[in-house]
């Protein structure tokens, strides 16, 4: 125990002395939490629509107004021809072309049928697909409210046909704001970076300088060395987690719906798992460059597979299996459930078991793979 005290004293002295790393450890999370959620936004706004109106009727104008007032679109004025509008797509000024053929109003009234042409720039996938879906909803709405559909053909005002209207309510995130989804995710990512990268680099650095050999020739026991590395970074991770929660509250006014105690319990276990992961990398890598690349490789998988960007439910089965094998997936899920939904401990027991298993497996493997004598 005494030995561990000396090791911890040394580790804290070194960490506190390196002002650059220290600043990065605290400034990076705060900056990222403040900036990223504002920029990384999946909401589609400002879809630029080139409106080609060959009909110039009251119906076509009404539709244009309706699109413009929906709040998602920016009308780029009337283009005189489809070709001209396509040019705007080529130059990137327009995202969608909506072409209204001549006879639009006449056909709707007489034939009760009319086609319109919608062309989409599919390079920006999210914007174009969501944009066209929104636009089609607006057109459908317009269609429902048309006079011809409400009035009976003989001129008498008839009882409007029964309509089923679906009203959406977004539970747990009433205004469907992206930040509520994004901010807890970024918080998790930050913990992951600190836990995974910094421990790995720290230990590999001792290998590079050669001090690890000096450590290996002392009577320091394996568990003492490893705890000496884990405890300081665990503490730093918890401080960063706390800072993150503060930023979340102060900047985004998001306060966890669930208890802080279970949030911290999960945070603590998750950090142990991640530190074990960093430790494991350090037992394989001989240089900081190698450690960086290995860590980066896994971080990419973690980021893309964890449900941070895209919902894991819509992944193919094999991807869901992979996703479940990363601790990040479980922690992101838990944090969102606790922060947004106020989930209780009883509902999350399974996730805690998963995270604990990760912690035990990763650390166990790392300790097994760390050799004082080769």
């Amino acid at each position: 125990m005494k030995t561990l005290g000396f090791i911890l004293q040394k580790e804290f002295r070194q960490i506190l002395r390196d002002k650059t790393i220290l600043a990065m450890m605290f400034a990076m999370p705060i900056m990222q939490l403040v900036i990223l959620p504002l920029a990384a936004n999946f909401e589609v706004k400002n879809v630029n629509v080139a409106y080609v109106d060959h009909d110039h009727s009251s119906y076509s104008k009404e539709l244009a107004d309706k699109i413009a007032s929906s709040g998602y679109f920016k009308m780029l004025g009337n283009s005189s021809s489809y070709g001209e509008a396509l040019e705007m797509i080529e130059y990137g000024t327009a995202d969608l072309v909506l072409e209204i053929p001549s006879g639009f109003e006449r056909n709707l009234v007489r034939e009760k049928y009319q086609k319109v042409n919608l062309s989409v720039d599919a390079i920006n996938g999210t914007k174009s697909s969501l944009g066209s879906v929104y636009l089609m909803q607006v057109i459908a709405e317009f269609n429902r409210n048309l006079d011809v559909n409400i009035k009976s053909p003989n001129g008498k005002t008839a009882v409007p046909r029964a309509k089923i209207s679906v009203k959406n309510i977004n539970w747990y995130n009433p205004r469907a704001e992206y930040k509520y989804y994004m901010v807890p995710g970024i918080l998790v990512l930050l913990l992951t970076l600190i836990g995974g990268f910094i421990t790995a680099l720290n230990i590999v650095r001792e290998k590079e300088i050669g001090t690890i050999e000096q450590i290996n020739v002392t009577p320091i026991q394996k568990w003492q060395f490893i705890l000496g590395k884990l405890i300081p970074f665990w503490l730093i991770g918890m401080i960063v987690f706390t800072l993150g929660l503060l930023v979340m509250y102060l900047v985004y006014s998001i306060s966890p719906q669930g208890g802080l105690l279970i949030l911290y319990t999960f945070g603590a276990v998750y950090l142990i798992a991640l530190l074990g992961f960093g430790l494991l990398i350090s037992t394989f890598a001989d240089t900081q460059l190698q450690a960086m690349f290995i860590a980066f490789f896994f971080m990419m998988i973690f980021m893309l597979m964890s449900g941070f960007f895209t919902s894991t439910d819509s992944m193919p089965d094999w991807a869901i299996a992979v996703s479940n094998l990363t601790p990040v997936t479980h922690f992101i899920k838990v944090v969102r459930l606790i922060v947004l939904k106020g989930a209780e401990f009883a509902q999350l027991k399974r996730e805690l078991v998963y995270l604990a298993l990760f912690a035990i497996a990763l650390n166990g493997f790392a300790i097994w793979n760390y050799r004082k004598t080769t």
Partner: protein, 247 residues
Amino acid sequence: MENKAISCKNLTKQFGDFKAVDRVTFDVEQGEIFGFLGANGAGKTTAMRILCGLSFPTSGEATVAGFDVYKQQEQIKKNIGYMSQKFSLYDNLTILENIVFYGGVYGVSRVDIKIRSDELISTLGLEKEAKKLVGELPLGWKQKLAFSVAIFHRPKIVFLDEPTGGVDPVTRRQFWDMIYQAAESGITVFVTTHYMDEAEYCDRISVMVDGRVEALDSPTNLKNKFQTDTMDNVFYQLARGAKRADS
């Protein structure tokens, strides 16, 4: 065998087909300054790593301070000090902090650390630098400090792997004065070096060629045996036959 500081019998370390250390047999007496010579790649460092408990031998027997190198490595580590050719103190800790850390992990109490470090710093004349980072010290001072730290916990044996590499002759001389003092206080010194003048300072030396110990005696006896008056020539005659490329 119990009275020997180090005892090796047919000690072998094999990497695949390559015998880095090939059936090495020798004893080191307590309190002796034992020079461990050999060309680059002769297997000195490998042998030393086995004796320090950093590496498992492939076959043969060895004890260090009476402990077995297969099973009792952790006991060995408690009883030895080690200073490697790679510089082994923490550059981003001060002199005092390095002393406290290494003293502490060898089980020296905080009180004793305080007493001994004060003593050490005044002996080395580093009063003004004690709170400076080790990274800011000149190489010669770093080496002397690393040696002092390696014997701070009063080990039975200290292993020095090319301790004077890259330092000037005056500092080397001072370094050897420190080695003599350590030996006088009863610490067995096991040292590798490439400097033949340093070999002359040793009580006994062994010369390794291609993984084997080719000669082992006092410097005087070796010079007589090879009928020459310098250790340089002794070493040259032995190492000339080496097949392993300089690495």
